[in-house]
């Protein structure tokens, strides 16, 4: 058994190198397929990361009318906390709001000056509400609208990030759709090319195959070299595509970092290295095996 695997694998390796150009073409098209699949995967990962980041920052602020008592606000805070979709509720008092405002605008003398001219605190107390996820903010708003507190509320400020989240969600969905379509197309092409390569290998080895059958080589011994050849294509392609992918990432990082601040992209991708590599090896071998299996079914008589 071990001897069979050793000999058939050696045979596969020699077939791989003997048909140099054909192997190159086959591996190239496989690299392209795997590269497309993994680039799409990496892009999805990145956008997902951005989305999580932005989602952390989104919230709605509920501003109360100036004459609402603090006790009423506390009551509403409790009321909101009891709602399932709500992740957290923070009370920002009038004084706190003024403090934050002053901090944020310390560099703008005109604003500071006009604030002083007003004399009293123009800001209102508010509750900052975070939902568990972006889609639930509308529910939260509806929930407040239906409540008895509606009369006390001055205005509700949807976080400006909400639109970005919706856009990102749409982008991810589009990337996924395009990615899956492209991956399937490339996978089909790769299988066809491997099928054709193995078909040619079978043709060039027709005399050997005939003699193997004649002298009673087992069916698996006749088939294994072609199966191994398919796997070798898959493995070689996944290794090379992995290298190209990391070069791409390294090259792209400065540009992506501009869009996604405070993320160490190389570290981020490195943490996914084995996952991406595993997927590539599996997909590559699968494509290789499928192609040679179809060719063997059609052209290899045992």
């Amino acid at each position: 058994m071990f001897l069979t695997i050793k000999r058939t694998f050696k045979e596969a390796i020699s077939n791989f190198f003997r048909n140099g150009w054909l192997s190159l073409a086959t591996v190239s098209i496989l690299i392209l397929s795997l590269y497309v699949v993994s680039v799409i995967y990496v892009v999805t990962l990145t956008v997902d990361g951005v989305l999580k980041n932005v989602q952390e920052k989104v919230n709605i602020s509920i501003y109360f009318k100036p004459d609402v008592a603090e006790a009423k606000i506390t009551e509403m805070e409790k009321y909101l906390r009891s709602y399932m979709a709500v992740k957290s509720v923070d009370y920002v008092s009038k004084e706190q709001a003024l403090e934050d405002f002053k901090n944020n605008n310390a560099d703008e003398p005109i604003i500071m000056q006009s604030l002083q001219e007003i004399g009293e605190n123009p800001l209102q107390a508010s509750l900052v509400v975070k939902a568990n996820n972006a889609e639930q903010y509308q529910n939260v708003v509806d929930y407040i609208d239906k409540s008895d507190f509606k009369g006390d509320i001055g205005r509700i400020n949807y976080g400006k990030n909400r639109e970005i989240i919706e856009k990102l969600n749409k982008i991810i969905a589009t990337i996924r759709k395009v990615g899956i379509t492209l991956s399937l197309i490339f996978a089909a092409i790769a299988i066809l090319v491997i099928f054709n390569t193995i078909r040619i290998t079978i043709y060039t080895h027709r005399h050997e195959i005939e003699i193997m059958r004649l002298v009673g080589a087992s069916n698996s011994y006749i088939r294994l070299p072609f199966a191994f050849e398919g796997i070798i294509y898959g493995l070689a392609a996944s290794l090379i595509s992995m290298v190209i992918l990391f070069i791409t990432i390294k090259f792209m990082t400065p540009y992506v970092s501009a869009v996604v601040p405070s993320e160490n992209l190389i570290a981020f991708y490195s943490s996914h290295f084995w996952k991406i590599f595993g997927i590539q090896v599996l997909v590559g071998s699968f494509l290789g095996i499928s192609g040679s299996w179809i060719a063997m079914r059609r052209y290899l008589k045992v």
Partner: protein
């Protein structure tokens, strides 16, 4: 014509005697191949063999003769399970071939050595490698290959040409390489399908002598040929075929075209 029929009867009587012998395992000289009403129709509806019945004893040397398309090659292909009969049963060493599993066909073929008119040698391999290949693909360890290939090549008289390539050899020598390859598994039956078809008469005689020698060592030989000189040289049992039918079965008879 009458004489011929008598001979056939003699053979069948002889067969019956042999069959009785089979019951006694001590003799070891039983029936190795039996065709029982075997018919082969190819996919294009051409009838290759019709109701063939014959028995071959272990250690026999049997020639199949007849014009092209008579069914000689078909019989050999049926024995090596290259083709399956349309109807009827073939017994090989006591077991019916139609019951053999696809995965067991290779094991069956290791009991059989085959040589063809066109030698079927691999041009990129040396004489040694060509013979070694047969052992290699059946999973024999390298040590066994190193030991038995030179032995077999010595038997066919090519011990000094192991490193030559097929192109550097004469036709007769190439056929000897093919024969060595057929012998390497120590088969119990050798199927020779027009082994001398591409050879001059001197080489043909050499090949037949070699087949006779192998037969003397105990291997059953089935020779398909339309070369009467060859068949007469062998001077053994002859089964005559015409258009897929067995038209004669002669013991040690001279075959006339």
């Amino acid at each position: 014509m009458k004489a011929k029929i008598n001979t056939t009867e003699d053979i069948s009587k002889k067969d019956i005697n042999k069959k009785e012998e089979t019951a006694d395992p001590e003799t070891g000289n039983g029936i190795i191949i039996e065709f029982d009403n075997v018919t082969k129709v190819f996919k294009d509806d051409s009838l290759a063999l019709e109701d063939a019945c014959f028995k071959i004893n272990a250690g026999d040397f049997v020639s199949f003769v007849g014009p092209s398309g008579a069914g000689k090659s078909t019989i050999l292909k049926l024995i090596s399970s290259e083709e399956a009969p349309t109807s009827g049963t073939i017994f090989f060493d006591g077991s019916p071939l139609n019951k053999i599993k696809r995965s067991k066909v290779p094991l069956h073929r290791r009991n059989i050595g085959t040589v063809f008119q066109d030698f079927k040698l691999l041009g990129k391999k040396t004489v040694f490698e060509n013979v070694a290949y047969a052992l290699e693909v059946c999973g024999a360890p390298a040590s066994e290959i190193k030991e038995s290939v030179p032995q077999i090549l010595d038997i066919v008289g090519l011990g000094d040409k192991m490193e030559k390539f097929p192109k550097q050899l004469s036709g007769g020598e190439q056929q000897k390489v093919a024969l060595a390859r057929a012998l390497i598994h120590k088969p119990i039956v050798i199927l020779a399908d027009e082994p001398t078809g591409n050879l001059d008469s001197a080489s043909s005689v050499e090949i037949v002598d070699l087949l006779l020698k192998i037969n003397e060592l105990g291997t059953t030989i089935l020779l398909a040929s339309h070369d009467k000189e060859i068949v007469n040289k062998a001077s053994r049992r002859v089964i005559c075929l015409d258009k897929g039918k067995i038209v004669g079965d002669l013991a040690k008879s001279k075959y006339k075209m």
